[in-house]
Symmetry: C2
Subunit: 336 residues, 2 copies
């Protein structure tokens, strides 16, 4: 029996699923950042004309889905699965978004690793010939996340330099069996790692071991070296987690410093508020969907490794003295 | 290009994935219920010797996974994916469980529909030849859910007769490419439905439209009638949601009354506390893993339709005046 696997942990595709379109919608702070011009829509307020931040997040996610569908010249009846997840309890941004579409819905949760978990599952469903087209979407919203995970948003609590700023952003990608666009050649789903970091204001450090483990496994499985990739895009280790992640890989003889970038570092100009960088499911989702997809489409890159990283704790777990487990999923994407 | 699909929404398998083992672990109330003797482990307290209910839930889930692996005579190195989800915010029961295994982890969220979402995804990965074995697990814990979703658990708030009792239970199933056991022949992933029910103490009514829609779509896609199934097992509509679900199907000319059972009704003897029946991801997970898997294995049923149903709201969404969207996923399982 033939399996579409290589090494211990990686699924590989003979007929590669195509990322036929991508769209990104962001809030005002993200629009003013270095990538502002890359996004399809920039809102001038974080409420988006809605009555709550939670409803605003769901709307943003819906708009990313609508835009990705429109760019692919598809409508919802063409889509076999809608895969989505976000940071809010019970992933309500995704559920209330999915309510608006007549598409079979798979809810996922991988914290900030959600986008690559979704692109991974979507690619597997397309490559397995269970779907012609799948749409994958993920979001986060700073104001909604802040009051859920930390303090009342209006309080504006001061965070340490290791803290990260949850992005108000959504991204969506259409994965299809055919079409023009970047192609997914392999997926490495990560294992949950926990090196004992228990400080929720230092998620980059907590997530770095997951990142290093998945990148290492992917390279082992594919029998490749870092130089086989033009870019390793993590999301969202931030400045501190990036240093730790690279060091952990260096300890295993893998040097990615030249080709590594982090979505959390890319999204904002440095500021005390932003701290170590951006975070949240929407951060890497919007950076990939807004910027990287286009650059792959235009063949500015030949091959990239998208490695979204998630911290799998909750406030309740941290209050109970638990450390922060993390996971990272890698998707290898090549230009046409 | 050939796709493994039938009708608009259903994936079908030529080489059917096998449910090679199943295990269920429950709390004291579930152990004293009508199915008590069916479960692999029954705990005498809801703390399981842990320091918190949340840690207890994660432990219960881990034990279900360990037991399912042991029964299948497999160890973690044989398993290509661990798919799990639960009701707690950020699915921490699953994340902290997954930390204990060296298996690639896919976190999912489908509320009480999680088990059939997981068996669905697991079957697709196995049938697509991306995995030899996948383990799927899901749990809920009454005391942990109560304080997260409603009131302090110790308060013991009185619920209306439409209310449902979150089960303290976990179930796990190993899906494999080969072996002895019941086989998955088709999967119908549901669309999110919302008929405007906004009362979180009446989740059965909120979930009934999702159940009816998915059963209807499945039968349409497969060109089958209810009599082609020996059992339609919903989970967890409870007594009231079951009546509504059947009526919604009857309105479409589909009568399932004779063959329909609900995991939430099966799990407990009627009592004012239990209300309309059990609920929670662990309810249908434990009823299927503890009872139905064995009955399929022993060929007491020829073909069943497992239809786990989930209410996709959150306390925050309800406080903001939102109604309760729901989803149901159907898995058609045949005995060997």
């Amino acid at each position: 029996m033939k399996f579409h696997r290589r090494g211990k942990s990686t699924c590989v595709f003979e007929q590669m699923p195509v990322l036929v379109s991508a769209a990104a919608v962001v809030g005002p702070r993200e629009g003013k950042g270095p990538l502002g011009a890359e996004f399809d829509m920039v809102y001038s307020t974080t409420l988006l004309g809605e009555a709550s931040w939670e409803k605003a997040e769901s709307k943003m996610l819906r708009q990313a889905v609508d835009l990705a569908l429109a760019k692919a010249n598809l409508d919802e009846s063409d889509i076999d699965f809608l895969i989505a997840g976000d940071l809010l309890n019970q992933i309500i941004s995704s559920a209330y978004m999915a309510r608006e579409y007549d598409i079979p819905f798979l809810g996922i949760y991988g914290a900030c690793a959600t986008m690559s978990e979704g692109i991974g599952i979507g690619s597997l469903l397309v490559a397995g010939r269970f779907a012609r087209y799948v749409i994958v979407a993920s979001s986060s919203h700073h104001d909604a996340a802040e009051r859920q995970f930390r303090y009342p948003t209006e309080f504006g609590h001061q965070r340490p330099p290791t803290g990260q700023w949850t992005a108000t952003a959504a991204g969506a990608v259409v994965v299809g069996v055919k079409g023009k666009g970047p192609r997914v050649e392999a997926v490495t789903i990560g294992r949950v790692q926990d090196l004992g970091v228990s400080e929720p204001n230092d998620m980059g450090s907590a997530m770095a071991p997951g990142f290093a483990d998945t990148v290492w496994r992917h390279l082992q499985d594919m029998a490749r070296k870092p130089e086989d990739y033009d870019l390793v895009l993590s999301g969202d280790l931030g400045r501190i987690g990036s240093l730790i992640g690279r060091q952990l890989l260096r300890n295993k003889g893998i040097v990615i410093d030249e080709i590594h970038q982090d979505a959390g570092v890319m999204l904002y100009d440095p500021s005390p508020e932003v701290g170590a960088g951006g975070s949240g499911c929407g951060c890497v989702a919007s950076v990939f969907s807004g910027k990287l997809w286009k650059e792959l489409y235009n063949r500015q890159y030949r091959r990239i490794l998208l490695v979204a990283t998630g911290a799998l704790h909750s406030p309740t777990a941290c209050q109970q003295g638990e450390s922060i487990p993390c996971v990272a999923h890698a998707v290898s994407i090549v230009s046409e």
